[in-house]
């Protein structure tokens, strides 16, 4: 085995209150494509930022081709030979392809640019990737995939030894992914070490030679792709032992179908780069668990249902009526509610009081012309503080002073106050303590008993198993399995999430 090109050993990085990386080792060899995998909070992005000089590691060492390095800035990292291409293309859309390839290192003399040489240089850089583009075209007029390839061409221009691709395929279609892979193989053949971050396991197995898995800031292990079956990989990412697949048939036994018409039904709901056409029905009195790995399309589904993103195709029906949901306002008016996964930036209004945070959705639905009376507000607030056991010194306390779990309860109350027929909970238990988790779960059961339809999104399989009456599994933006009742078990969910040859889809 060749000596690694890039060696990270014992890397550690702490942020206030969080250990982002704890003694992580990571090796990349020349001429290999190495997948870096992990779920939320695994430490992938911190690791990449240390490599690219955005962060400095607290402990540990980095060696490139045997030499110790400690890049202090992205520019220095590039100079050393560590180039990174991010999911959002970090180029200038209003300039031409040639300029983007040459910015900061344009050829010229006496301080003046040599445009013919610049264009030649740009064409040569693209030719290395087998690309033929009009170098005078404005970058923004190209597809995201081509922009990404221009970014790769720029990165390689700098005598790169290691190329880091941070989720480059997140918004590409299959053809574009195939083109990108062709380029990656070509570069692997040239002896480059490629670090590939992705959420798509199919892609990992299609192109990667080795896999490193991180979880909660620690190294789970490094594996040759051929030696690690999908199911084992998912188990490592989720931190679960692999249980032998059950002998019961994988296709779930459908429990007695609900007799009621669905509250919400979606038909071939899709959005390019976010979700392949998806059918989904939600009935009153059920909790539909939506399971899948990070990036599988769970949050995207919620956003499309709620009108936050525009769908490319698809019909929505609410209570049997064709529904026109083009904005959250439309969705709220139809009795939908969404508790977003990002509580801090998409949920709470930190400086406003518990009362103000609680009434805002209801007030918005009523319109500013009909203010809720103060006494109504206080009554509502008192009711929910008691009903959800929100621990707060009082209704006028700023919400930022509450614990995460109690903030989450206020957000739930905000939506419950609008008396929705359907509530979408996107990772409602993330970042809150165990006691509060249990209370939220109780509350979900209560909502179901009250006849609401609940769409419950969670990364924790056990939560899906415990709380769902029905569960749908997404993989790579597609619906791949559905289970109901007792058929919802962690091993089955995991197998569906892992996909591959074990999948019965």
């Amino acid at each position: 085995m060749t000596a690694p090109l890039l060696t990270l050993s014992g890397l550690g990085k702490k942020f206030p209150g969080v250990v982002a990386l704890d003694g992580v080792d990571f090796n990349v060899r020349a001429g290999e494509i190495h997948a870096l995998l992990g779920e939320n909070g695994a430490g992938k992005s911190t690791l990449i930022k240390v490599l690219t000089g955005v962060y400095e590691a607290d402990v540990g060492s980095i060696r490139l081709a045997g030499q110790p390095i400690s890049p202090a800035s992205p520019k220095e990292a590039e100079r050393l030979g560590l180039s990174t291409v991010y999911q959002e293309v970090n180029l200038v859309a209003t300039l031409s392809v040639a300029e983007n390839l040459c910015l900061g290192r344009q050829p010229g003399r006496f301080g003046l640019l040599n445009w013919p040489a610049l264009r030649r240089h740009a064409r040569a850089a693209l030719a290395r990737l087998g690309l033929e583009l009009d170098v005078d075209a404005e970058l923004g007029s190209l597809s995201v995939a081509l922009q990404q390839m221009v970014a790769i061409a720029r990165a390689l221009d700098l005598q790169a030894k290691v190329l880091i691709l941070d989720e480059p395929t997140a918004s590409l279609d299959e053809k574009e992914v195939a083109d990108l892979f062709a380029i990656m193989r070509r570069l692997r053949g040239e002896g480059l070490g490629i670090v590939f971050v992705t959420h798509f396991l199919d892609q990992v197995y299609a192109i990667c030679d080795r896999i490193t898995v991180l979880r909660n800031g620690t190294l789970v292990g490094e594996y040759a792709t051929a030696d690690l079956p999908r199911l084992a990989l998912v188990g490592k990412m989720l931190g679960r032992e692999i249980i032998a697949p059950e002998h019961s048939p994988l296709r779930a036994t459908t429990a007695a179908g609900p007799v009621t018409a669905p509250i919400l039904s979606a038909r071939s709901l899709s959005r390019t780069g976010a979700l392949h056409p998806l059918d989904l029905d939600l009935h009153a009195g059920e909790v539909l668990g939506l399971a899948g790995l990070l990036g599988s399309g769970r949050t995207e589904t919620a956003r499309l249902l709620f009108g936050l993103d525009r769908r490319d195709t698809g019909e929505l029906q609410v209570k049997g009526q064709s529904a026109r949901i083009r904005s959250p306002r439309d969705a709220i008016a139809l009795g939908l509610a969404l508790c977003s996964e990002d509580r801090k930036t998409e949920g709470i209004l930190p400086n406003l009081s518990v009362r103000e945070n609680l009434i805002i959705a209801l007030q918005a639905r009523q319109g500013a012309g009909r203010p809720l009376r103060r006494s109504e507000q206080e009554q509502l607030c008192g009711h929910y503080i008691r009903a959800l056991r929100i621990k707060t010194p009082g209704p006028e306390t700023p919400i930022r002073n509450l614990s995460g779990g109690n903030q989450q309860k206020v957000l739930l109350a905000r939506w419950l106050a609008t008396r929705p027929a359907l509530i979408i909970l996107d990772e409602p238990t993330r970042g809150i303590d165990i006691g509060a988790k249990a209370e939220i779960e109780q509350l979900i059961a209560q909502l179901r008993a009250d006849g609401l339809a609940v769409l419950f999104i969670s990364s924790e399989l056990d939560e899906i198993v415990r709380n769902s009456t029905r569960a749908v599994v997404l993989r790579e933006h597609r619906r791949v399995a559905e289970f109901s009742g007792d058929a919802i078990t962690a091993p089955r969910l995991m197998q569906a999430m892992a996909g591959g040859h074990q999948s019965h889809e």
């Binding site: 300029e99 900061g104 640019l113």
Partner: protein, 321 residues
Amino acid sequence: MSPALQRRLPLFATAAVLAALYVTAGLRYDNFFSARVAVDFFTDNAALGIAAVGMTLVIFSGGIDLSVGAVVGFTSIFVATLVEKHHVHPALAAVAALAVGTVLGAGMGALIHFFRQPAFLITLAGMFLMRGGAFWISTDSTGLAHPLLQRLSLWELPLTEKAALKMSALVLLALLALGGLLAHWTRFGRNLLALGGNESSAQLMGLPVGATRVAVYAFSGLCAALAGLALMLNSGSGNPRDGIGLELDAIAVVVIGGTLLSGGRGHMLGTLLGLLIFGVIQSAIRFDGSLDPAWTRLIIGALLLGFILLQRLLLRRLVRR
């Protein structure tokens, strides 16, 4: 349409508008198609054009400079007062004024960059400071009596029998050439566009974002001070009221020239065309005699709106892809 052509679409639109205005006016008014009239486009708008060169580069970078009109007024009264009241040599006074403009610009650029302040606010403060400074020096205008200044003020470079370029117009042409060179043939100019197009990308590409930003405001300050000198020479006196509202005209010239106000895309040639549009409209109204001068502003307003909408449409096409 080829991509390169499409990128130049705003520029072609400006050129088409200019040609249409020029031909219409020429067919309507006798002697409009003469070298003298054409030269006047430059002489009459020398200060505006010089300031617009600096403004173009600032707008390339995604910024704005509201202080230029006030710097013009300050320079005008500052130099006139130094020369006429304090008997400082005109060359020394001019150099001092250019230094003031440049240092002010650099200071504003540094505040904008290092304290992450909006350019609008910082340069608004600069505008008040400089206009206040101008009135503090003198509230009245001061005539230029110094022989050197008088000679410069009257000096002309003869082109044809009737047409001659004044000093101010020469400075304008030189600056347009310099600005074009900076914008399109140096790393500095391309860095400005990169900065205006996407600042975080520019940073990640390792471009010298801070130095570029400080330099472009310094250059704009220098241009504004030069504009002040040009205006002073053209009018033969220093006046603290010179250049009121000039910054807004300069912004209009730049935007009509097809440069994107939010930065990242534009061409110095467009600024020249925008300036000529200004000149043609003004001259046409003067030729007509019966038209109210207010029409200059009305037409400029309409053109400005038209160009902003055109850019919006082009941008939307880009974004949709």
